[in-house]
Subunit: 149 residues, 2 copies
Amino acid sequence: MYGDCMQDAGYTIQDMAERCGMTAHTLRYYERVGLIQPVGRARNGHRRYSEADEAWLHFLHCMRATNMPIREMQRYAELRELGDATSLERRKILEDHRTAIATQIVELQQAHALLTHKIANYKKIEQRIRIGGPMIAEPEPDCSLAPAS
Amino acid sequence: MYGDCMQDAGYTIQDMAERCGMTAHTLRYYERVGLIQPVGRARNGHRRYSEADEAWLHFLHCMRATNMPIREMQRYAELRELGDATSLERRKILEDHRTAIATQIVELQQAHALLTHKIANYKKIEQRIRIGGPMIAEPEPDCSLAPAS
DNA sequence: CCTTGACTTTGAGTGCGCTCAAAGATGTAC
DNA sequence: GTACATCTTTGAGCGCACTCAAAGTCAAGG
């Protein structure tokens, strides 16, 4: 055919690591724990990653970056190997993770708002220090959700 | 005064754990690593938490829940002990963390969108299976950010 | 008096997700 | 031909944030 003389084509592990925002260590680790199928090899035994590998790795990266545990990614990867018959189960995993993400977003947004509030408070304190104003009053500025603050 | 006969007042460690969404283990852990000052004790040596402790613990919980490392929380806690003079430094920590949170939110939102997309794709696949339609075509549905999909 | 249960301490153990060390093969550049 | 970079493998090590085990104290209830 044609591919026989192309076996050295594809990305090296370093290339792929950079493309996916992981280290080469992590790529090998993912392979040995079964998150990605044994990768093709060049004649010298070095790994050569395909575009398909890249897409899958990007997906894995995205799931990890949003705190999906390796365990769950493994389960998903296994189902994926089994083909379309596992579609429902896989969808369930994704839906559950999407729910988890939504929850995280809410928590982060709340924390963001809290920090904005506290930062404003610090600015006030700094102002008072600068003008040598009264340092008293204003209940503990560290009391997060406490009333007023 | 009055407080002398009130030394057993305040929340028990269990109460506080429930109120703050942590375990008693974690509360003791936070105390020994200096995240919270030595807590008051009842006559029998048991910890008794104050309202101020609760507010601070809530804050800590909120920071941890948004992935602030313990190390950074320790640094913040130390500065807090030092009083108003550390205001600027503390504000910097909060601002940095707020930035980190904003970044996380964006990542999560992207992942959320990606999942929504993939979930829709799975539904299509399931539909095709149900009606026994053509199983071919449509490039790998797992290719995350890949074009079309 | 004795049991029960909630607490105390100290130090060790756990689970996760990498991360690295060591030793070796291969291919390119000078 | 020899240095150098880049890869390979296996198994061990690490940092984080808890989490628990063991042994002990104390107060209330039956």
